[in-house]
C-alpha cells in the first residue's frame, strides 16, 4: 500500500515533468531513433552494414533500436535515483522528504517506476515499428518480449543503482559530475550496444556484478537467435533476480548512512 502510494506520488512528479514539457516528451520519443541513426551512420562510414550482419547474424537497425531502448530503461534508473535527491535539494523539497516518515528503501525502489512506464510507451513508438518492419508479425512478439525483459532489467538494476548512488554521495558528496562518470562506466559494462560476451575477459567478469547484465545478455541472445535452452533463460533471469536481492540489504544500509551524514551536516533549506 505504502509502495503504491509512493509510486502514485512519483507518477505525479514525473508525468508533470514530462507531459508539461513537450520538448522533453518529443526528445524521449525521438531519442532511440536518433541514437540508432547515429550509430548505424557512424558504423557504415567506417565499415559496412553487411559485415555487421555477417558477423552477428542480425541487421544493426533492430539491434541498436533495442539497445537504445535498453539504455533508456536501465540507465534511466540511474538518472532517476542519482538525480532526484540533487534536484530535490535544489528546489528545497529534500527537507520535507527527509522529515517524512516514509520507508526510505521503498521510496528509492519506487522512484524509477513511473518513468519506466513512460519508457515502455516510448518503446511502442520506436521498437515496435522497427521490429515490425524487419520481422513482420514475429516482430510484434519480439517487441513485447524485449521490452518486458528490458523493464525487468531496470527493476532488478535498481538496488545496485541505489548502492552506487549512495556510495558516491557518501564518499564524494552530492554532485552532478559523479553521474557523468558513472553513467558511461555502467554503459560499457552492461554491454548494451554490443553482445556482452564480446567484452574483454576482465570487463566481462566485472560486468557480472551488475544485476541487469544477464538480462541484457538474454535480450541479445534472443535477438541473435542463440538462446540455447530454457534452462539458460531461467538461469540468466534467476541470476539477475538473485543479484538484485543481494544489493537490497546494502542499499538499505547505505541510504540510512547517507541520510545520517546529511542530518549530521544539516540539510540545506
Amino acid at each position: 500500500m505504502v509502495f503504491l502510494d509512493v509510486i502514485r506520488a512519483e507518477m505525479k512528479f514525473v508525468y508533470a515533468d514530462i507531459f508539461r514539457r513537450r520538448a522533453l516528451l518529443l526528445m524521449m520519443v525521438l531519442w532511440p531513433y536518433l541514437m540508432t541513426l547515429f550509430i548505424v551512420f557512424l558504423g557504415s562510414t567506417l565499415g559496412s552494414i553487411q559485415v555487421f550482419i555477417n558477423r552477428f547474424g542480425v541487421n544493426p537497425v533492430p539491434f541498436f533500436i533495442i539497445g537504445s531502448f535498453i539504455l533508456l530503461s536501465t540507465l534511466g534508473v540511474l538518472d532517476d535515483i542519482m538525480w532526484k535527491p540533487l534536484y530535490d535539494e535544489m528546489v528545497g523539497v529534500l527537507p520535507y522528504i527527509l522529515s517524512s516518515p516514509i520507508n526510505r528503501i521503498l521510496y528509492y525502489v519506487a522512484l524509477p517506476i513511473p518513468r519506466l512506464l513512460i519508457v515502455f510507451l516510448v518503446g511502442m513508438t520506436s521498437v515496435l515499428p522497427i521490429l515490425y518492419l524487419f520481422y513482420g508479425l514475429k516482430g510484434i512478439l519480439l517487441t513485447f518480449v524485449t521490452m518486458l525483459l528490458a523493464s525487468f532489467a531496470a527493476l532488478v538494476f535498481t538496488p545496485f543503482v541505489i548502492v552506487c548512488a549512495m556510495l558516491t554521495y557518501i564518499i564524494g558528496g552530492e554532485s552532478w559530475r559523479a553521474l557523468n562518470v558513472i553513467r558511461p562506466m555502467l554503459f560499457i559494462l552492461l554491454g548494451i550496444f554490443y553482445p556482452r560476451w564480446l567484452l574483454p575477459l576482465t570487463l566481462f567478469i566485472v560486468s557480472n556484478i551488475l544485476p541487469a547484465a544477464p538480462v541484457v545478455e538474454l535480450i541479445q541472445r534472443i535477438l541473435l537467435n542463440i538462446v540455447a535452452s530454457q534452462g539458460e533463460v531461467l538461469s540468466l533471469l534467476g541470476l539477475a533476480i538473485a543479484l538484485g536481492f543481494l544489493y537490497l540489504a546494502p542499499a538499505r544500509r547505505l541510504v540510512s548512512s547517507w541520510e545520517r551524514r546529511k542530518i549530521r551536516e544539516g540539510v540545506r533549506i
Binding site: 502514485r8 520535507y96 544539516g266
Partner: protein, 334 residues
C-alpha cells in the same frame, strides 16, 4: 512519559558547525562556530512560542534539530516525549514543518498535485488526503486564488506561503514548527497566516514560530524567547519583556538645521538624558533623545534647542517597542 501539557522540551541544546576558512589556493583552516550554546525551553499545547532574533542567532538551527533535519552535538530535544535523535521517525509523525516560503515544492505540479504528492509521502490514505486538501484549500483561501489548478512556478509569494502552511497541516499534527512563515509576504497574506496560526493555537496545537520581525512576534506569540548568538538572552510574554527594561522612552525632535553640534553637548549635560542619537537628512536633523522621564525634561530640551537658535519642526514622545527591548538586552549581554 509526556510531561502534562508540554509538547516540545529542549534541554541544554548545543550545536557546533565546523567551517573551513580558505587561505590562498591550498591552505585552509578549520573554524568551529557554536550556533547554539546550550539553550533550554519548552512549548505547551495551545501555545505559540516565538523564537525571536537576528539572522544567524540560531533560530533555524533550533527548528532544524526539532524537525530531525540536524543532529545536535549536546543536549536533548523531545517532541511529545520522543527524542529527536533516537526516535526520529516517531517525531516525524507528529510535526508539521514550514521552512523557507519561496521554495519547497515542484514547479511543474499544481498546488493540489503538490499537496497530493506530500500526502502520499506522509502515508495519508488517498480518500482522507483528498478531503483534507479540500478543507485546507478552503481554509487558506487557496481555492479562491486558483491555486488548485495553477502550477506552483506561477504562484505569488503569498500563495506559496499559504501552500507551505497547508502542507504543514496536511496530517493535522499536534506540533507545528514554522520558520519565518511571513518573510517577504504582502500584508494581506501575512495577516492571513498570522490569524490562522493564532486560530491553530486556540485549537490546541503547540507552535514554535521563528521570526526577526518584532512587531509580528508581539502580536502573534504568547511567549517570546529572545535568542542572540545561540543563547536565549530573555524570555517571557511581550509585556513581561517590555517591563524588563528601564522605562526608556524617546523624545524625537526634527530640527530645521544641518549642523547641531553646538547644542549636542548642552543636551547631554541635562540630567536624566541617557543618550542622544543624531540622524541627518538633506535639510533636517532628527535628534532621538533616550530618557526615562521625558515629561520632566522636555521643557529643558526645548530651551536648549531654542537658545542655540534652531527651529523645531516636530516633537514627539515614543513608547518602547520590542525592538528596543531586544537592542537593550543584547547590548547588555554583549
Amino acid at each position: 512519559m509526556i510531561a502534562m501539557g508540554i509538547a516540545i522540551e529542549v534541554h541544554n541544546l548545543v550545536k557546533r558547525y565546523v567551517t573551513k576558512e580558505r587561505r590562498g589556493l591550498i591552505k585552509g583552516k578549520k573554524r568551529v562556530v557554536e550556533a547554539l550554546k546550550g539553550i533550554s525551553f519548552s512549548v505547551k499545547y495551545g501555545e505559540i512560542v516565538g523564537l525571536l532574533g537576528p539572522n544567524g542567532a540560531g533560530k533555524t538551527t533550533t527548528i532544524k534539530i526539532l524537525a530531525t533535519l540536524l543532529l545536535p552535538d549536546e543536549g536533548e530535544a523531545l517532541v511529545e516525549g520522543y527524542d529527536v535523535v533516537k526516535e526520529a521517525n516517531e517525531v516525524r509523525k507528529r510535526i508539521g514543518l514550514m521552512l523557507t516560503v519561496e521554495k519547497g515544492f515542484y514547479g511543474k505540479l499544481t498546488g493540489r498535485e503538490n499537496l497530493e504528492y506530500f500526502a502520499a509521502l506522509y502515508n495519508i490514505p488517498k480518500k482522507i488526503a483528498r478531503k483534507r486538501i479540500d478543507i485546507l484549500m478552503h481554509l487558506l483561501e487557496l481555492d479562491k486564488l486558483g491555486a488548485s489548478d495553477r502550477l506552483f512556478e506561477e504562484f505569488s509569494l503569498g500563495m506559496k506561503a499559504r501552500l507551505a502552511l497547508a502542507r504543514a497541516l496536511l496530517r493535522d499534527p499536534p506540533v507545528l514548527l514554522l520558520d519565518e512563515p511571513t518573510l517577504g509576504l504582502d500584508p494581506p497574506s501575512a495577516r492571513k497566516i498570522r490569524s490562522l496560526v493564532r486560530e491553530l493555537a486556540k485549537n490546541g496545537k503547540a507552535i514554535l514560530y521563528t521570526t526577526h520581525n518584532m512587531f509580528e512576534a508581539e502580536i502573534v506569540c504568547d511567549r517570546i524567547l529572545l535568542i542572540d548568538n545561540g543563547v536565549i538572552v530573555a524570555q517571557g510574554t511581550p509585556q513581561e519583556l517590555k517591563d524588563r527594561i528601564p522605562k526608556l522612552r524617546t523624545i524625537e525632535l526634527s530640527l530645521l538645521a544641518r549642523d547641531v553640534t553646538p547644542a549636542l553637548e548642552a543636551l547631554k549635560s541635562i540630567e536624566l538624558i541617557n543618550d542622544v542619537k543624531v540622524l541627518q537628512s538633506d535639510e533636517m536633523t532628527i535628534l532621538k533623545i533616550l530618557t526615562s522621564k521625558p515629561e520632566d525634561i522636555v521643557d529643558d530640551v526645548i530651551q536648549v534647542i531654542t537658545k542655540h537658535g534652531y527651529e523645531i519642526k516636530r516633537l514627539r514622545i515614543e513608547e518602547p517597542t520590542l525592538e528596543d527591548v531586544f537592542v537593550y538586552i543584547t547590548s547588555r549581554t554583549s
